[in-house]
Amino acid sequence: MRAQAAVPLGRGRFTELALLIWVATIAITGFVAVLATETASFRPTAVVVPLVFLALMLSLHVFLVGIRFRGDQILLPIAAGLTAIGLVLVQRLASDLLLQQLSWSIIAAGAFAATILVPRDLTALARYKWTWALLGVLLLVAPLLPVIGREINGARIWIKVGPGSIEPWEAVKILLVIFFAAYLEEYREVLSHAQRRIGPFPVPPVPYLVPIVAMWVIAMLVMVFEKDMGATVLFFGIFLAMLFLATGEAFYAIIGLVLLVLGGIVAYQLFGHVQARVDTWLRPFDEDLRFGTGYQLIQGLYALANGGLIGVGLGNGMPDRIPIVWSDFVFDAFAEEAGLAGAIALLALYLVFLYRGMLIALRAPTMFLQLLAAGLSFIVALQTLVIVGGNLRLIPLTGITLPFVAYGGSSLVTNWMLVGILMRVSQISDRMRGGGPS
C-alpha cells in the first residue's frame, strides 16, 4: 500500500514542473512591471530574454525527465526562481548587461546539465581529494600573479580570461567543499576521539591539527593580499562548519572563530583596506566618509528606508543612486522596490534552499556525501548571510555576490553546478533507500 503510494511520484517530475510554472508567472510579472514603468527605455531584448530563460528552464526539466533522473524536484525551481528575480533586477538596474546575464544563465544551465551527467560515481571524487585541494589553492593564488591577475574595485580576486575576467574564488568554493568532505571523512575519528584532553578540550595529535592551521593561514593570506574579506569569512566559515558537522566538537568551531577574530583584529591594525572597510561600516555618516567610501552604503540604507513594508513597486524606485547596485547591492534594490515583504520572501527562498540541502545531507548514505551536501548548501547560506548582512549594515560590507540573483557570471555558473551536485546526492540516497527504480 505504502509502496504503491510512492510509485507515481517516482515516474514523472510533476512537482518540479508545477513549481516551474510558478517561476514563469513570477518572471513574466516582474518583467512586465519593470518594462511598463520604463516605457521610454523599451528594447525588444527585454521581451525576448525572459522567454528564452523560461524555455531554458523548461528544457532543463525535460532533460531531467528524459534521462529518468530521480531525486530532488524542489532545488531546481528555487534556483530558477532566484535566477529569474536576478534577471528582472538586471533589467531594472543595468539593462545593458541583460544579454550578458542571459548568456551566463545559458552557460550555467549547460554546466548544471554536465554536472548531472558527467561524474558517473560521485563518491569517486573523494579519491582525488589532494588534487582538488591543490587545484583550489592554485586558483586561489592565481589572481595574485602579475600577468593574469586583476584588481577591480579594490579587491584582487579576478583573473583575465579573453576579453572578460572571472572570479576563480567561485570555483574554489566547490573544490574546497569536496576536499573538506573527503578529508574529514577520512580523519573524522582521529579528530573527534582525541586521546588527550586538556580540561574539556580535546587535543588531537599534532599532525591532524596542521590542516586546520593551514586553512587559517591561507584564509588570512587571502584577506591580506587579495583584499577580500568576504572570501576569507566564507572560506574559513565553510571549513569550520564542516569540521563541526564531522566531529561534533564545538571546541574546534570556537577556537576557529577566536582565530578568525584575532586575525581580523591584527589585520585591522596593520592594513589600510581592512581598516577602511570597518570604519565605513561603523560610521558611514561621518563628514569625511559620507561622500567617499560611505556613500554606497548610505544610499543603500536610504533605499531600504524608501522601500517600507510593500515597497515602492518594481521599476518605481531610485536604486540607481547606489553605485554598482547591480552586483553589490541587489538586495537593497530589491528591498526598495518590493519592500520588506519581498525581501522576506527572498530570504525565505534561501532558507528553503538550505533546509532542503540539509535534508539531502541527512539522508545521504555515506559520510562523504553527507558532508558534501551539507557543505554545499552551507556555502549558499553563508554567502547570503554575509552579503545581506553587509547590505543591511549589520556587518562590514564585503564583495560577495547574492547567490543566483546578483549580476555576475562565475557566481551564477558555479551556483548552478552546486545545485547539480546536491541533486545528484539526493538521487543516490533515493536509490539506496529503494524508493528509486523497482
Partner: protein
C-alpha cells in the same frame, strides 16, 4: 486614461509580490509532501538487504536474527561498528560490507583472523551474491534480500 494605467501598473506590482508568496507556499507544501513520501519509504520494514545469522557464539547474536544492512556497513567487535560482532575471534574493525554499482561487496578491513566467504578467504574486495555465507570469527552470516 492615465489613471487607469497607473492603477493597472500598481496591480502588476502587487501581483508580483503575491505570486512570490504563492510560489513560496507551493515550495513549502511540495517539501512537506516529499518529506512525507520519503518517510513512508524509510518506514518500510525491509532495509536494503539483511544478514541472517547462521552460526554464532554465546554473547553474540541468536541464530536466525536478521540484521538490516545500510549502504555501507562496518562489521567488527568495536561498539562503533554498524554490526557489532561480540566474539573474541573477530577484530575490532573486521570487515566492510557495502552496496555499490547495484551490487553487494565485502572487503576485509585488515582483520587478524580474516574474512571468509563460502569457505574462501577474502583477498581484496569481493562481490557478494544473495545466499552467500560470510564468516567472521566464529560467527556466520548469510546475505538475504
Amino acid at each position: 486614461m492615465e489613471i487607469t494605467f497607473a492603477i493597472l501598473l500598481w496591480g502588476v506590482r502587487i501581483l508580483f509580490l503575491v505570486l512570490l508568496y504563492l510560489f513560496l507556499i507551493r515550495v513549502f507544501s511540495s517539501l512537506q509532501r516529499s518529506l512525507a513520501t520519503e518517510n513512508d519509504i524509510a518506514a518500510r520494514p525491509s532495509g536494503l538487504a539483511h544478514l541472517v545469522v547462521q552460526r554464532t557464539v554465546r554473547g553474540a547474536f541468536r541464530v536466525g536474527d536478521r540484521l538490516p544492512l545500510r549502504a555501507v556497513n562496518g562489521l567488527g567487535r568495536d561498539a562503533g561498528n554498524d554490526i557489532v560482532i561480540n566474539d573474541e575471534a573477530a577484530s575490532a574493525r573486521h570487515a566492510l560490507v557495502e552496496f555499490a554499482d547495484g551490487e553487494w561487496w565485502v572487503e576485509d578491513a585488515g582483520s587478524t583472523n580474516g574474512t571468509v566467504v563460502n569457505g574462501e578467504v577474502v583477498r581484496s574486495r569481493e562481490r557478494l551474491q544473495y545466499g552467500d555465507e560470510l564468516a567472521i570469527g566464529r560467527v556466520a552470516l548469510r546475505l538475504e534480500q
